[in-house]
C-alpha cells in the first residue's frame, strides 16, 4: 500500500515536472509509458494538465499592464521625493535648512533687503511632476496640487498672514479652522477669501475660477467688486474683460483630476477623452470622427485609466489599443 502511494507521488511529481518542462528525457519516456498503460492514468495526466491550464488563466488575471503599473509606481516615487524635498525645505529640518540659512545671510549681506525678503517665500512648483503633490501649510491647511502648478506663501509670517499665492495651475484646498486671521488666496487681480471650507481653484492666462465643495468663499476684485460663493457655486474672473461672474457649477467633474471620479451624461466621447487625459496624464487618441461624436453616459471611478477605458469600450462598442505612451480608441471591437 505504502509502496503504491510512493509510486503515485513519484508519478505525480513527474507530471508536474513535465508541465514545468523541466523533466529529463529518461523520465519523460517513463511518464509516457505510464500514461499509455491505462485510461485512468491518461485521465490523471489530463486532470493535472487542466489544473495547470486554469492556474495559467488565473495568473494572467487581475493585474495591470506592466507599463501602466510602472507609470503609477513612478508617480508615487516622484511624489514621495517631492514631499521629502518640501519637508526638507521647511525651516528647522535637515541639512538644506542650514544651506538656505547660509544662502540667506549671504544674500542679505550682498544684495540687500529685497532679495532677502524674497527668500522668505516658500515656492512649490509642480511643473515637472506628473503626479499630484500633497502639501500641508503651516496652519494645517491641506493642499493637493495638480501637475503644472506654482504656488508660494510667506513661510515666516504665515501665522499672521494666512495667504497663499497661486501663480498658475490648479489646487484643491481644504482650509483648517483657525482662530487667527482669515485664509486667503491671491490670484493676481482677484483675491479669494475663505470662510471655513473646501474648494478647487484654477488659474491660467485667460481666467481664474473657484468651485466651492463645502462652506463659503468670497471672491474679491481689486476694484472692490465681490461675489459670495456657497456650496456648488462657481466664481470666474476673466483676465481680459476683468469681469467677475458667479454661476451654478455645471462641471460635475471639476475635481476628477484629484479623485478620479467622473460623471458623464450624454457627453461626446471627444469631451470625455479631454477630461480623462487631464486626470490620468495619458494622451487618448480617437481615430474616427463619428466615434468622437458618440455620447457616453456613465459614472467612472477608477484609479487606473485601463479600467475606465474598459467600461467605455464596453458601453460604446469600441476598441481600445495601447500605442506608445498613448491609448487609441477605434470604431470596431
Amino acid at each position: 500500500m505504502k509502496q503504491s502511494e510512493t509510486n503515485e507521488a513519484m508519478i505525480h511529481s513527474l507530471i508536474i515536472e513535465d508541465l514545468e518542462q523541466t523533466i529529463s528525457a529518461e523520465d519523460k519516456v517513463k511518464l509516457e509509458e505510464w500514461r499509455n498503460a491505462s485510461a485512468v492514468n491518461a485521465r490523471t495526466y489530463s486532470d493535472f494538465a487542466d489544473i495547470q491550464l486554469n492556474l495559467d488563466k488565473l495568473y494572467h488575471r487581475n493585474g495591470y499592464d506592466p507599463d501602466h503599473s510602472w507609470t503609477m509606481l513612478d508617480q508615487k516615487i516622484t511624489s514621495t521625493e517631492q514631499e521629502r524635498k518640501t519637508f526638507d525645505n521647511k525651516p528647522g529640518y535637515g541639512k538644506s535648512f542650514w544651506i538656505r540659512a547660509a544662502a540667506a545671510l549671504f544674500l542679505i549681506s550682498t544684495a540687500g533687503y529685497f532679495l532677502a525678503n524674497r527668500q522668505q517665500y516658500q515656492v512649490v512648483d509642480t511643473t515637472e511632476n506628473s503626479a499630484i503633490s500633497k502639501l500641508v501649510l503651516p496652519d494645517g491647511t491641506e493642499l493637493a496640487l495638480n501637475s503644472g502648478t506654482i504656488i508660494k506663501y510667506d513661510k515666516k509670517n504665515f501665522s499672521r498672514d494666512r495667504k497663499l499665492i497661486l501663480e498658475s495651475g490648479e489646487v484643491f484646498i481644504h482650509v483648517i479652522k483657525h482662530d487667527g486671521n482669515q485664509f486667503s488666496i491671491d490670484l493676481g487681480d482677484v483675491e479669494v477669501k475663505d470662510i471655513g471650507t473646501s474648494f478647487n481653484v484654477t488659474k491660467n492666462d485667460s481666467h481664474a475660477s473657484v468651485v466651492v465643495e463645502e462652506g463659503k468663499v468670497a471672491m474679491i476684485h481689486d476694484s472692490g467688486e465681490e461675489v459670495l460663493l456657497s456650496q456648488g457655486m462657481r466664481g470666474i474672473f476673466y483676465a481680459g474683460s476683468k469681469q467677475l461672474e458667479k454661476q451654478h457649477n455645471k462641471d460635475l467633474n471639476y475635481k476628477s483630476w484629484l479623485n478620479k471620479k467622473f460623471i458623464f451624461n450624454a457627453t461626446p466621447l471627444q469631451q470625455v477623452a479631454i477630461q480623462l487625459e487631464k486626470a490620468y496624464k495619458v494622451p487618448l487618441i480617437i481615430e474616427e470622427d463619428n466615434l468622437k461624436l458618440k455620447k457616453l453616459t456613465a459614472k467612472l471611478h477608477y484609479q487606473t485609466l485601463d479600467s475606465a477605458l474598459e467600461v467605455i469600450s464596453a458601453s460604446l462598442q469600441c476598441k481600445v489599443t495601447k500605442a506608445q505612451n498613448a491609448y487609441v480608441l477605434s470604431g470596431s471591437q
Partner: protein
C-alpha cells in the same frame, strides 16, 4: 553598499549600484521583469487587485529608497518574493476579519454554482473553484504552490527561499495538485448532480 553583500550575483550588485545612482531606466526594467509574477502572488494572498498592486509597489519603493541598506541573503529575485509574501501576509493578519468575509463570500459562491449556464460562466466557475481550493491548502503547501505557479519560481529557488529541501518542495507540489484535483472533482460532481436535478424538475 553593505560589505556583507559581496556574495551576491554580479548582476544583482550592478542592479543595486544603479538604484543607488538613481538610474530610473534600470529600475523600470527591473520592475517590469518581475511585476506580473509578484502581482499574481500578492493577489492570491490579498484577493484584491488594488491591495496586491500596493503590496508590490511598496516593496519596490522601499528598494528604491533603501537600496544601500538592504540585507539580501541570496539574490534580489529571492528577496523580492520574500518581501512580497511577508508584506501580503502582514496585511492578511491585519485584515483577518476581511479575510473571513472573503471566505464567507466564497462559500456563498459555492452555493450559487447552478446559476452558471454559458461557456464563459462555466469557466468562471471553474476558476473560482480553483482559487477556493488553493486557499484551502495548508499554509506551507499553499506558499509553495503560489511561488511555483504564480511566482514562476523554479523548485530550487523555492527551496532556497523557504529554507526547505527540494524534496519537500516536490512533496508540497504533488500534494497541492492532488488536493486541487480532488476539490475540482467534487465541484464537477456537484454541478452534474445539480444539472440532473434541474433537468428532472423541467
Amino acid at each position: 553598499m553593505k560589505a556583507q553583500q559581496s556574495h551576491l550575483p554580479e548582476a544583482d550588485k550592478e542592479l543595486i549600484a544603479a538604484i543607488i545612482d538613481r538610474d530610473k531606466k534600470v529600475f523600470e526594467l527591473f520592475y517590469k521583469r518581475y511585476y506580473k509574477q509578484l502581482f499574481a502572488v500578492a493577489y492570491r494572498y490579498t484577493g484584491h487587485t488594488q491591495t496586491a498592486e500596493e503590496v508590490v509597489h511598496d516593496v519596490f519603493i522601499m528598494i528604491w529608497n533603501k537600496a544601500a541598506q538592504l540585507n539580501i541573503q541570496q539574490s534580489m529575485k529571492s528577496y523580492l518574493f520574500r518581501a512580497v509574501v511577508n508584506s501580503a501576509l502582514n496585511i492578511l493578519k491585519k485584515e483577518k476579519t476581511d479575510a473571513e468575509k472573503h471566505n464567507a463570500y466564497l462559500s456563498v459562491q459555492d452555493a450559487a454554482v447552478s446559476e452558471s449556464t454559458t461557456q464563459d460562466e462555466m469557466e468562471e466557475e471553474v476558476l473560482r473553484g480553483l482559487e477556493e481550493a488553493l486557499a484551502l491548502l495548508p499554509e506551507k503547501c499553499r506558499q509553495v504552490m503560489y511561488l511555483s505557479r504564480f511566482g514562476r519560481l523554479k523548485q530550487k529557488e523555492i527551496a532556497e527561499q523557504m529554507n526547505i529541501s527540494i524534496k519537500t518542495v516536490k512533496n508540497h507540489l504533488t500534494y497541492g495538485f492532488h488536493k486541487l484535483r480532488e476539490h475540482m472533482e467534487k465541484r464537477k460532481t456537484m454541478v452534474r448532480a445539480l444539472i440532473f436535478l434541474i433537468l428532472n424538475a423541467l
